[in-house]
Amino acid sequence: MKTMTCPLNGVRNISEFVCGGEVRAMPDPASGTDAEWADYVFMENNKAGVVREWWCHTPTSFWFIAERDTVTDEVLRTYPAGDVFTARRDFDAPNEGGA
């Protein structure tokens, strides 16, 4: 059985996890163009090598980050998202249809 180490719950069967795609910078909510958003939402780099990905331990809904080698499918390390995202990001998008 293939396993993965959840930073909160420890080693678990891989069937308890789902992948949430690459970790990458979000376009600026105020100034991002449609092309930038389309790229962010729909496109994958599909890199051969070590990538950073979002993973979720579904029994706890705990999202974390894994570094995985896409060539060997080996998970090199996992850590809480809080290690990378240290500050709250507020969405102060322009008011388009407001009162």
Binding site: M1, N9, R12, H57, P59, T60
Partner: protein, 233 residues
């Protein structure tokens, strides 16, 4: 005679329990399956392997960045480590499921008013970044008791729950019979026992799964009386 349909707080699967011959009793204003046959025989059976439904008993959860701090400010002890349970002075057990999530389970006698007190004390305004989770409504609560419980779990759960590997008070949030569940080791006196909590919509499915898994070991339903006797041994 206590009839669950006359109680607002009753088990999600009271009809299934009645099919097994459950005799219900009123505990803390709820209809709980007290026993199915003779309590003496049921206690002996529960020391080997049995399944009990504790769903009508009080429990409450809190989520959010400030949830653990708020619980501590309300007098809950411990909560220093993830996936661990801390016994409180009144027999209530408080679990830290994550740095942002706590769960409080009442005592088997349901005499403590801690869960109700926490529910009364909490409000969106007085507890910023702490949100109430109605675990008594959202989650079933079963107990799997007996010396052969770990052997039974090995059939349907990937986590090693053997008593020498999974200590008293440890928590595993994992997949049981392909359903997400929280497993907490909580021995009753000298008897090995585990709490199992999961989505209340799956209560009937999980009840049947667990009974099916324990059939080869002779496991049967047990009532709250048998569990209390084991706890007192």
């Amino acid at each position: 005679m206590v009839r669950p349909v006359e109680y607002a707080r009753r088990s999600f699967l009271h009809r299934r329990l009645a099919e097994h011959g459950a005799v219900f009793a009123e505990i803390a204003g709820a209809a709980v399956a007290d026993h199915y046959g003779g309590v003496d025989g049921e206690t002996v059976g529960a020391a080997q392997l049995a399944l009990a439904d504790l769903s009508p008993l009080p429990r409450i959860g809190f989520k959010g960045k400030n949830a653990i701090n708020w619980l501590i400010s309300q007098g809950i002890r411990g909560l220093q480590a993830d996936n661990a349970v801390d016994l409180q002075y009144d027999g209530v057990r408080a679990a830290r499921l994550a740095p942002t999530e706590g769960l409080v389970l009442c005592d088997l006698e349901a005499k403590s008013g801690t869960c109700a007190r926490l529910a009364d004390a909490w409000s969106l305004e007085s507890a910023p970044l702490c949100f109430l989770v109605p675990r008594a409504d959202s989650h079933y609560w079963f107990a799997v008791t007996g010396a052969r419980a770990a052997e039974m779990f090995a059939k349907i759960c990937g986590v090693d729950l053997r008593p020498d590997r999974f200590a008293e008070g440890a928590i595993a949030q994992t997949s049981v019979a392909r359903n997400n569940a929280i497993i907490i080791r909580r021995d009753l006196g000298r008897t090995l026992a585990y709490d199992v909590l999961g989505d209340s919509a799956s209560a009937d499915y999980m009840w049947r799964c667990l009974l099916d898994a324990m059939a080869e070991f002779g496991g049967k339903p047990a009532g709250l009386s048998a569990l209390r006797r084991l706890a007192a041994e």
